[in-house]
């Protein structure tokens, strides 16, 4: 076969220069334009079977959309429309996943091109298709194809939470012809996409557009409604044919060590919510305050830790990430670690915090760590086990951000006691994502603990199918 010549290197995507981006919250990666996207698409070998599809948690037809993109190079609009149609079959939020998925662990990991050189930049291509379609009105056109003409006819579904799981489930059900109402506790929809992920990684106008898309599909969003408080699960079941719980993992884990109540020790959730949701980085133009010093230590090394570190940096602080394990154990996306390093975030490994030390005003001034060392064996999560060395080190810090993980919020399960939970607060579900209460489904971090946006979306989609089957079966005459 006279296949295409192998191009080992990726077509690069431009990024905002470091010196500029550390002073603002603008998006760092600028993405492809059409010409460079097609060039990158042309590197794809069109494998069959395609390992990338297997690597994608929602099994997007990746070679399919890449082919559509490069096949119509003379007509960008046609090319993008065809590509987007293929993506939307499996993923309705590509502008978001293109930006926040850990592609290097998913679709790009098994890419055959990766063996010869660099894998296809699937994430950036996905993002390009979504961004170009939005900018050129293609998305709106395509939306008509996907809009059900029988909105509300098939039944009514309540979706709890408007994060990635809830948005996806709502969108899928609306496309099938259900009347969907989303209940959101906060004053803005988006869940972790709005309070957790910063502007420089996911511009909020992209999220706003996705929300608008859902509304065009007929989805209603009730803000300021805390299910379990404002309205109970039982009340929802009286009014709706089924309920989907996509309440995520919003409860921060805290270190129960001396000094945890000192001032300027934040959970990553508090720090990021103040900045992202409440725009505290624009204080006093915006009313929500934030207080940050000159030396920040972020504890943890996941995506949330990187987001917090890079936000603190943009607010004028020196930032060090302190992690109890080693460099190769960090769980953040490679791109986020790379960006953090480029921007000047320092990294300290094998340090486990044991005490926060305060000044006479009750503000944190230092963190005492025990030095750790790795053992040969791995734990249940595949990470190297670590042990303390008995040696201690104290690092100065006038701001500390704790980013050591999150658990599901228990508001619903505490109120609806029939809802079975695991000890970590995750909801128990069956293979169809149905909880212990018939007609109540759940997905995303609410059942997984802390996972990814794309897995949450995959659950939302799977649950939508299961909900459809459940409702249609219930409606069959006996």
């Amino acid at each position: 076969m006279a296949g295409p010549k192998l191009i080992k290197e990726r077509v690069p995507t431009p990024e905002v220069p470091v010196e500029e981006r550390v002073k603002s919250f603008v998006e760092v990666n600028l993405g492809y334009d059409f010409v460079s996207a097609v060039k990158e698409a042309e590197r794809c070998l069109q494998c069959n079977p395609a390992p990338c599809i297997q690597g994608c948690p929602v099994h997007i037809n990746i070679p399919g959309f890449i082919k559509a993109l490069r096949e119509n190079a003379e007509s960008p609009e046609e090319a993008v429309k065809n590509a987007l149609r293929i993506i939307w079959d499996d993923n309705t939020l590509p502008a978001i996943t293109g930006r926040v998925c850990p592609q290097e662990e998913q679709c790009e990991a098994p890419c055959v091109m990766g063996k010869a050189g660099e894998p296809i930049n699937i994430g950036k291509l996905e993002r390009f298709v979504a961004d170009y379609a939005r900018k050129h009105g293609i998305e709106k056109e395509l939306l008509k194809e996907f809009t059900s003409t029988e909105n509300g006819v098939k039944g009514k579904v309540a979706v709890v939470g408007s994060g990635p799981a809830g948005l996806t489930c709502a969108g899928e059900l609306a496309k099938m012809g259900y009347k969907v109402t989303i209940f959101e506790a906060l004053h803005k929809p988006g869940g972790v996409l709005v309070y957790g992920i910063p502007e420089f990684r996911l511009p909020k106008e992209i999220l706003d557009r996705e929300i608008a898309k859902l509304k065009e599909l007929g989805v209603e969003i009730k803000l300021d409604h805390i299910v379990g408080k404002t309205v109970t699960l039982e009340e929802l079941l009286e009014e709706y044919d089924a309920v989907f719980i996509g309440t995520g993992a919003g409860t921060p884990k805290l270190l129960n060590i001396p000094g945890i109540l000192l001032d300027r020790i934040y959970t990553a959730n508090e720090f990021l919510t103040r900045i992202n949701l409440m725009k505290a980085y624009k204080f006093p133009e915006y009313d929500e305050p934030i207080s940050i010093g000159k030396k920040t230590i972020v504890i943890g090394a996941g995506n949330t830790a990187m987001d917090a570190a890079r936000s603190a940096l943009r607010m004028g602080s020196e930032v060090t990430i302190a992690y109890r394990r080693g460099r190769e154990d960090m769980t953040a996306r490679i791109e986020e670690i790379k960006h953090a390093e480029e921007e000047g975030v320092k990294f300290e490994f094998f340090l486990n915090p044991v005490e926060f030390i305060g000044d006479e005003n009750g503000k944190v001034k230092a963190v005492k760590f025990e030095k750790m060392k790795p053992l040969g064996e791995k734990d249940s999560k595949g990470k190297r086990k670590i042990v303390g060395t008995g040696e201690y080190i104290t690092l100065e810090a006038d701001t500390v951000i704790i980013a050591i993980g999150l658990e599901p919020n228990r508001i619903i399960s505490e109120e609806a006691t029939a809802l079975k939970t695991n000890p970590d607060g995750t909801l128990v579900v069956d293979e169809n994502l149905m909880t212990s209460i018939p007609g109540v489904f759940a997905g995303g971090d609410a059942i997984r603990g802390e996972a990814t946006v794309i897995l949450a979306m995959g659950d939302g989609k799977k649950a939508a199918k299961a909900i459809d089957e459940y409702i249609q079966k219930k409606r069959l005459p006996a």
């Binding site: 004053h187 001032d263 133009e285």
Partner: protein, 284 residues
């Protein structure tokens, strides 16, 4: 979308009353729970105590102190008929309403003044003997009596620090007398954290249950940010989720008081900028 302001009245030199349309909260609010409101697009999320929930008309009433930018905006910019951006709730855990015997509600700041009426009303309906103590600094800060818990109180006291209205002193003084007369089975209280700390020490030796509003700085109010964490019986608890009314004897008050002043500097700055704007416009 927004929530319409349906009533607004001045209460004193520092506090005012406001009612908003919030049917989603009015139908589900229970005594002890709070709400979080946002005045406008640039506003912060501010926790508020509830004075009443009017289920029938879908409205909730609040007492508010003119203290920071949000509350200044509510007082100086928002008129009856205007809307606020957001109000969410009810949040936190309700208190247990049952027969205790002699129930005291003591208040010395705006949040607790709001809670006194509804709490004692519920307690009276549960066949308790109810005692209300409203403490103010002076006459100018004292509310008109119709906003206080008098109609639902079997015994009713007002105190001021200077004696200009009611008894001279503070709710702590009255409580001490009542305790000495063996008239107190349980105390509910709220307001200034410094007073609550003293209250905890007053009732502790007598073993009188003391349930108080642990007012802390919050963002979401649903247990998501951990801003309102307090040390409770040696464990970390969130005032928004595990409270806001908690056992005063188990709270580490010194830390709670310190944490409540975390943004004092920023609040002062924002307040000054806002007041300067009002002065420029000739509003004040």
């Amino acid at each position: 979308m927004g929530y319409k302001i349906t009533k607004k009245e001045n209460l004193s030199a520092i506090d005012f009353f406001m009612e908003v349309e919030a049917p989603h909260i009015a139908k589900s609010w229970k005594v002890g729970q709070f709400v979080v409101l946002i005045v406008d697009e640039k506003g912060e999320r501010v926790p508020m105590s509830v004075y009443y929930a009017d289920r029938e008309n879908g409205r909730i009433g609040m007492f508010i102190r003119r203290h920071g930018v949000t509350t200044f905006k509510l007082w100086y910019e928002k008129k009856v008929g205007d809307e606020i951006l957001s109000i969410a709730g009810p949040l936190g855990k309700p208190i247990e309403v049952k027969h205790y015997g002699n129930v005291v509600f003591a208040a010395d700041a705006v949040c607790a003044q709001a809670e006194a009426y509804a709490t004692l009303k519920a307690m009276k309906e549960a066949s308790n003997y109810t005692i209300a103590i409203h403490s103010f600094e002076n006459k100018a800060n004292t509310y008109p009596e119709e906003y206080l818990a008098k109609p639902v109180a079997d015994e009713f006291y007002i105190t001021t620090e200077d004696g200009s209205v009611g008894r001279k002193g503070h709710y702590l003084d009255i409580l001490k007398e009542l305790i000495e007369q063996d008239k107190v089975d349980i105390v509910f209280a709220g307001g200034k954290l410094g007073s609550l700390k003293k209250l905890a020490e007053l009732t502790r030796p007598y073993g009188i249950p003391t349930i108080v509003t642990v007012r802390q700085i919050m963002v979401d109010g649903t247990g998501m940010c951990g801003s309102c964490r307090v040390l409770y019986d040696g464990e970390i608890k969130f005032a928004c989720r595990d409270g806001p009314m908690m056992d005063a004897h188990k709270i580490d008050w010194d830390d709670a008081i310190k944490r409540n002043a975390r943004f004092a500097e920023q609040e002062k700055l924002a307040r000054e900028i806002y007041l300067a704007k009002l002065r420029e416009k000739g509003v004040i």
